[in-house]
């Protein structure tokens, strides 16, 4: 699946959609494909303050348990309630219904986030 142009990407395979001072965050399609069938997602708590690149959750697939690293910093304002019951949503639609949490961004988004084109380069050379 193509990486949408309107998102920013981290080297840890997370995406962020910045709208005003809110960022919606998830993992990329490349990430879900590498992980395989996802069976459990542990998200940060609403109200939790998170720093860019900090480990703030866990994705467990049939292959492995991987950490979630936030591409942005700020306060978590919402989590995707669907993922507790249906973690497979991340496999089905990583950029859509499989979104993970929303952050009220404080400060600038991390300067090392990549454009869709640069992220594409990263995963094709990986």
């Amino acid at each position: 699946m193509a990486n949408p142009e309107n998102l920013l990407y981290s080297k840890d395979h997370e995406w962020a959609k910045i709208e005003g001072d809110t960022a919606t965050v998830g993992i990329t399609d490349y990430a879900q494909n590498s992980l395989g069938d996802i069976v459990y997602v542990e998200l940060p708590r609403v109200g939790q303050t998170i720093a860019p690149h900090a480990s703030i959750g866990v994705v467990e697939s049939v292959k492995a348990v991987s950490e979630l690293f936030s591409p942005v910093g700020g306060e978590v304002v919402e989590i995707n309630p669907l993922l507790e019951k249906d973690p497979a949503a991340v496999n089905r639609d990583a950029f859509g219904e499989g979104w993970m949490y929303r952050v009220k961004v404080s400060g600038d988004p991390a300067p090392d986030l990549l454009s869709a084109a640069d992220y594409e380069k990263l995963v094709t050379t990986a």
Binding site: G36, D37, V62, K63, A64
Partner: protein, 498 residues
């Protein structure tokens, strides 16, 4: 679930591909053997508040129980029935002499509360085993107390914590460095003890770089956890410089013994600069394991950490042995009594049966076998770090997956149809679609050739007819299981039919 008809259950067991019923489904009220028909009812001796009106235990005759579990055991895959190349797990043959020694009545029937003077033989064995391990791995002293590998990691990190607390650096030293080529349990053990884990990426050669480690070292560094050879099967050739750098920063070096089968008689963690280490007697020294069976995880330390070892230790005075509990700086016991003592007997037997020369050869043959399989496997699968390996190597099905949709998981499943257990999959995480293959020293060339031929034929079949590989295994008692559903909707216990 409705109760299956008992006759159907019994008949069903004899049909091809039948699923063994649960022990609960086999029983019948009143069928259990009663060995004490004239004994007074147990209830008479128990306080009323401990009694419960019902206890839904299965009600089976002894013969049904024996048949049930024997049948299940026949369906298991084990090292006694087939080749088991599970990387980093060292599934080697378990010589029967080890069990024979562990079954000697003097060892087997010894009560754990036996006073020292009645347990001199057992204490002497523990004392000598400890001395042997210290000599083989170059450490000042071992404790045989921890009951498994990860348990010993925990012990080692508690020792590190006690050491830094004594130096007054307990609050400052908060991080543990774990390279991505370390053993999989290391980050979890560090987190258990309250350390912050700093992951370190290995370099293009699959090793820890000296500059990379220097970049993450600091006054907060407590421990650097490594295994050597690492989980790619490669020897960390800058280990002396790495150890010097960690020591210069005031940190400790920890050696994970998962891969010790490559070392015996050839290299010693103590000489590489490691301050702490553990061993898996059940891997390196051939004790049956897997499936969660009992383990044995001695933890070893350099001279400056001896006082912190778990209690008790066996002390020798003249020709008498005694358990010493009076060690004020010890982290205390990790496990009750003498830990898994029968495993100490097995490991001790293995060491004596092989001798120093034999153990040296064990490690050399383990390395030779791994390299033999590696150069055959690279003819049809990528081997990303393609150089002389130690006791194990990694292959990747990434290219095959792109080409055919057949993943490492599917290759592993298909191997079962050929009578082989799967290698370790998807570890280490830095190799995509990873297969980690450890043949061990006990396999013949014929077995290794048969394994390579099976893997080759599966890869060829994947290119011809990927669907067939995706459907494997088809010849096993239980076919392809739905692992995703099992993880998403776990059904872990029997429930009485309503």
């Amino acid at each position: 679930m409705s109760a299956p008809d008992a006759a159907d259950v019994v008949r069903g067991r004899f049909e091809p591909g039948a699923t063994e019923p649960l022990i609960f489904e086999l029983g019948h009220p009143g069928r259990a053997n009663t060995y004490f028909p004239n004994a007074r009812a147990l209830e008479e001796f128990l306080p009323a508040q401990t009694l419960r009106p019902d206890l839904p235990l299965p009600d089976n005759s002894e013969l049904d129980v024996i048949r049930h579990y024997t049948r299940l055991s026949q369906r298991n895959f084990s090292i006694d029935t087939g080749f088991y190349p599970l990387g980093s797990c060292t599934m080697k043959y378990n010589p029967r002499v080890n069990d024979a020694m562990a079954n000697l009545p003097g060892f087997r029937d010894l009560h754990p509360f036996a006073p020292d003077e009645l347990a001199q033989g057992a204490l002497a064995l523990m004392y000598d085993l400890e001395r042997y391990l210290a000599a083989i791995f170059g450490m000042a002293q071992f404790s045989l107390n921890p009951a498994a590998g990860a348990h010993a990691e925990l012990a080692a990190l508690l020792i590190a914590k006690a050491y830094f607390a004594k130096k007054g650096e307990g609050a400052a030293r908060t991080t543990v460095i774990v390279p991505d080529t370390a053993h999989g349990t290391n980050p979890a053990s560090a987190a258990m003890v309250g350390y912050k884990v700093v992951s370190l990426q290995s370099d293009a050669r699959g090793r820890v770089g000296v500059d990379a480690i220097k970049a993450v070292l600091g006054p907060d560094t407590a421990v650097c956890m490594m295994t050597n050879p690492n989980t790619l099967g490669l020897f960390e050739d800058h280990i002396l410089e790495i150890a010097r750098a960690v020591h210069a920063a005031g940190g400790l070096m920890y050696y994970d013994g998962a891969n010790a089968n490559a070392l015996m008689g050839n290299a010693r963690p103590g000489d590489m600069g490691f301050d702490l280490m553990h061993l898996n007697t059940h891997k390196t020294f051939s004790i049956p394991h897997g499936g969660g069976g009992a383990g044995h995880g001695p933890v070893g330390v350099a001279a400056h950490l001896v006082d912190f070892l778990p209690t008790p230790v066996v002390r020798k005075t003249g020709d008498r042995y005694a358990l010493d509990f009076d060690r004020p700086e010890s982290i205390g016991p990790m496990r009750s009594f003498w830990s898994n003592f029968a495993h100490a007997v097995r490991g001790f037997t293995y060491i004596l049966a092989n001798g120093g020369d034999g153990l040296t050869k064990v490690s050399q043959l383990a390395v030779l076998n791994a390299n033999y399989v590696r150069v055959k496997v690279r003819e049809f699968l990528d081997t990303p770090y393609d150089e002389i390996c130690r006791h194990e190597f990694v292959a990747s099905a990434q290219e095959l997956k792109r080409e055919t949709g057949v993943r490492a998981l599917d290759l592993a499943k298909a191997l079962l149809d050929h009578g082989f257990h799967a290698p370790t999959m998807y570890f280490p995480l830095l190799v995509p679609e990873c297969l980690m293959i450890e043949p061990t020293e006990t396999e013949s060339k014929e077995t290794l050739d048969a394994f390579v031929a099976a893997l080759r034929s599966i890869v060829e079949q994947a290119k011809r007819d990927p669907q067939a590989v995706l459907a494997a295994p088809t010849t096993t008692v239980v076919g392809r299981v739905d692992e995703t559903r099992a993880a998403r909707e776990p059904d872990l216990r029997w429930k009485a039919p309503a």
